[in-house]
Structure formats: C-alpha cells, structure tokens
Symmetry: C2
Subunit: 251 residues, 2 copies
DNA sequence: ATCTGCCAAAATGTATGCATGAGCGCCAGC
DNA sequence: GCTGGCGCTCATGCATACATTTTGGCAGAT
C-alpha cells in the first residue's frame, strides 16, 4: 500500500521516474522513447534505461515498436470504457468465486472494516468529504475483494488493470472539481460495497457477481455523464492520449 | 496464425528457443535462469539473453525474482482451473459485448465458416477424428470470438491467457490417448460453438455470455474428469510444475 | 548443535564501444 | 514534377569490461 522507499539502483530510479512522467501525462501517448535521450536526461547509461522501459512494457504502460524501441501506449476513450467493463467482469468473478468457494470469516471482517472506514470519509454534510482518503480506502477495498477468492491468476489480471494511467477515478476530475457534487455517488457506491460483502457472506455467488458488476457499470455511467457535459475534459486527463479515437458518442 | 519466419537477431533466437524449452517442459517451473549459463549455452552474450527473458516475463512465462534474475513461472493445478475459469469469463464477456454492440454480418459468416470446418474434423465414425486439425481450428474459433466485439483491451487479456504453457487442451493428453473417446465431447463442444454464434447473431447478450461460459466450464469438467481417473497425469503435463500445490480434490 | 557474522564466489547492475539495420532525404533520371 | 534508388544518419542490437550486490558456506562463539 505504501510506496516503496526510493529505489537504489539506476534501473529503479529510471523506472519510477519514467512511470511518473507517463502517468502524469508529461509524456503523451504515442511518443517514441529514445534510449540515448533518456539516458542523458537521467544521467545514466542506456542499459538501465532499457531495463526500465522493458519493465514498463510489462506493466502495460509502454509497447514495443515493430522495429525495436518503445512507444508510450496511447489509450482512446473506448479503451477506458472497455477497461472499466473488464474490471467489472473480473471483480464480479472475484466476488462470485469468493462466495462459491467461501472465505474465512476473518477476511470478511477485514473487508467490512474497510467499508466502515470509507463511511467516515463521506460524512453527513457535503463539506465533510475527504476525497483523497476515500480514494485510498476505495483502492484498498477493491484490492481486498480481488484477493478474496485466493486466485493468484485473477489477482494478477486485476492488478494489471489497476496500473493503467487512467485507473484512478481522480484522474478524470479536474483540480477545481466541486467534490461535494459526488457525495451522492459515493454514498451509492458505499451501499453497493456493503451489498457485495453481504452477498459473499451469504454465499450468494450469482448475486455477488451481479452486484460487483453493477458497481463498475455505475462508475462507467458516472464517467460517461461527466464527459457528456464537457467533452473537453477528455483532453485534460493525464496519461490519456485521445489520438486515434472519438468521444463518448462514437464515430 | 503461421509462425514467424525464423528471427534473425540473437534476441529473437534466444526468445524462441527459451520459450520452446519452457513450454515443452524442458525447464521445470520454479527454475532460476542464469544469464551467463544461458548465454554460454546459446553462444551469445548476456545482453540478448536478458532481453529475451524480459520479453518472456511480459508473456507471463517467467517472473522476476526479488533480488533480480528470472524464475520459470510454476503453475499449480489450481492455476490451471482458475485460468480456464478466467478464459470462460473473458470469452463470455466477448460474446456478450459482441451481441450487445453488434458485429458486421461478414464477421459472423467468418466465424460460422470456422464452425463448419470444425465439423469436418469430427466425422461420423470414431476413427474419423482429426484432432490436430480440430485443435488448430478450435483456436481459430476462440480467437475470432475474442475479436468480435472489437475491444483491444479484451483481446489483449485473452491473448495473454492463451499463451500459458498449458493453454492448449492437447497439453493434457498423453501421446497414447485414445482420441476417439473424446468424440462425444467434441460434438458437444460443436453444439455449443453453434449456439454461441446464434445467440450473438440474435443479439442475445446474456445468453451468449452464459453459453460461452458454460463452454469453458465443460472444458474444465472434462479436465477434472481426466485427472480424477489418473492423478499421475498431472506430473506429465509439459510446462506444468506441480510443485506447490495439490491435486483436484484440494488440500 | 545452532546461531552469527564474515568472506569469497558468483550473479546481476552498469557503462561503453562497436556493429547493424531501419528511416529519411537528396539527387538523378524519367 | 514525380519517382526511384543511393547513401547518410541515428537508434537499437550486441559484446565486453567493470562495479555492486547477493548468496552460501565456513569458522567461531554461545
């Protein structure tokens, strides 16, 4: 959960630095990364740069060009939607498997505790919303959910999806967003969180899956709503290169 | 579909060779790969070896060790089951999205043609089964299905799952298997293939998803049946290192 | 007997020089 | 003016020497 202490090796420094630049959107999607340029920039040799790029390709932030070299992966609006869809499906599967296979009571308590802490972040009044803390805990919830069935395969897939530059909901909100407007959504999300945990506890696999999926669909609808009101927001999402595609309403 | 013409660069040679060794099971899961040893073995320097290992990690065949270096990923029986489960879920999603979003008639014709060709591989009499051709076409079917909704995100995930060493059904069959015994299963699978295509054509998303999932579940049950009769088969699956886990009936 | 700490051997991390090949622009010919 | 080939340039592919870290064993103490 906590970030790793600043890595020692050049490779790690380069990895962290490059990842940051990509996620922050400093390097737009589609950009080709040149070993020499980056090496000079980071004051290291080409070797660790190459190594770092290779790892970023594993994470899915870069892709290998046909003729060698790496490109910053660019994501279209459709990719964002599809990724949310995919996460919903995968988390639904996690919920279903957890319900079907059963999980230790202790684990359910743990995840229940997270839900309770989430409640504290979205208090009674609109000004009472601690969005940063909510986001953090929300990640914890979804991570815990992914881990419930004890399937390394599933966890791996969900982990991958979570690393994409636009994975965090906050990536879509401009800095001046009136967060209080989302209070209603957050309360609704909390209701869903609770229902999912309850369904798993009752061993209702199909219901747990449907709920987890619906939870993701709600997030997708929220997103589509935001962009339907202001399409220009699309271009301001860090790390989201809308080079090759159109907005919400298709071609 | 066809294999790429033998790669020219040392990296590519190493990549292909290593991949082969892992998938064939020449290098058991959990084995640590040493750059120097492999470099000597392949008569090249450490650099391309490292590059090849990095790419294999992207493919999911290797994993990075904590202290650097790579390990051959080892898969337990549970991983196989979970992967089939995952593929079912993902293919179900592909089928659902295809039905929901609609696909060009031409694409459906294409996939229908594959199903027809599959019929030819499992003729009327038990001796009439061309298992190799069936496997190849079956892969084509599933690949085409994955591509139907036009979601690069989904295709990418399914592609990944397909590359695992045990992905091919034939990996589980010893060389002397009486293939004719599977004729009935193959016919049943064909019925499912047809139903899936029909459901997509009729735009019945939920049904298409359920069918595709059931198709995978059937494969899983077949597998469990095979191993329930002869647990020793587990250890003979190439690339499947059953080091850390137990058989079908759990811990 | 086991634990601890040190030391040596080996493996990975890094830098750098050279080789190779893809991409691009220039020039000549049509 | 357009097209096709030629060659230059620059980025990556590869090899190798050196630095650093990890690991496993051995010795001594508890």
């Amino acid at each position: 959960m906590a970030s790793q202490t600043t890595a020692k090796t050049h490779t790690m420094r380069a990895l962290v630095e490059l990842r940051k630049r990509i996620i922050d959107g400093d390097i737009p999607g589609g950009t080709r990364l040149f070993e020499v340029a980056l090496a000079e920039d980071l004051q290291i040799s080409r070797t660790p740069v190459r190594e770092a790029m290779s790892r970023l390709a594993e994470e899915g932030l870069l892709e290998r060009a046909r003729s060698g070299g790496f490109l910053v992966r660019s994501f279209a609006y459709a990719d964002v939607i599809d990724t949310i869809e995919l996460r919903g499906v995968l988390e639904g599967t996690a919920a279903r498997l957890a319900a079907e296979r059963g999980v230790p009571e202790a684990k359910l308590k743990e995840i229940g505790a997270i839900v309770q802490k989430l409640d504290l972040c979205i208090g009674e009044t609109p000004d009472d919303v601690d969005f940063a803390a909510y986001s953090e805990l929300n990640s914890d919830f979804h991570e815990a959910l992914a881990a419930l069935p004890g399937s390394a395969t599933l966890e791996r897939e969900l982990d991958r999806a979570k690393r994409l530059p636009f994975a965090s909901p906050s990536a879509f909100l401009p800095d001046n967003t009136q967060l209080s407007k989302f209070r209603r959504s957050l309360h609704a999300a909390q209701d869903q969180h609770r229902e999912i945990v309850t369904a798993i506890h009752r061993r209702e696999g199909a219901r747990a899956e449907a709920l987890a999926r619906e939870h993701a669909q709600a997030a997708r609808r929220n997103l589509e709503y935001i962009f339907s009101k202001d399409r220009s927001l699309l271009s301001s999402v860090p790390g989201l290169a809308l080079v090759s595609s159109d907005g919400p309403d298709g071609a």
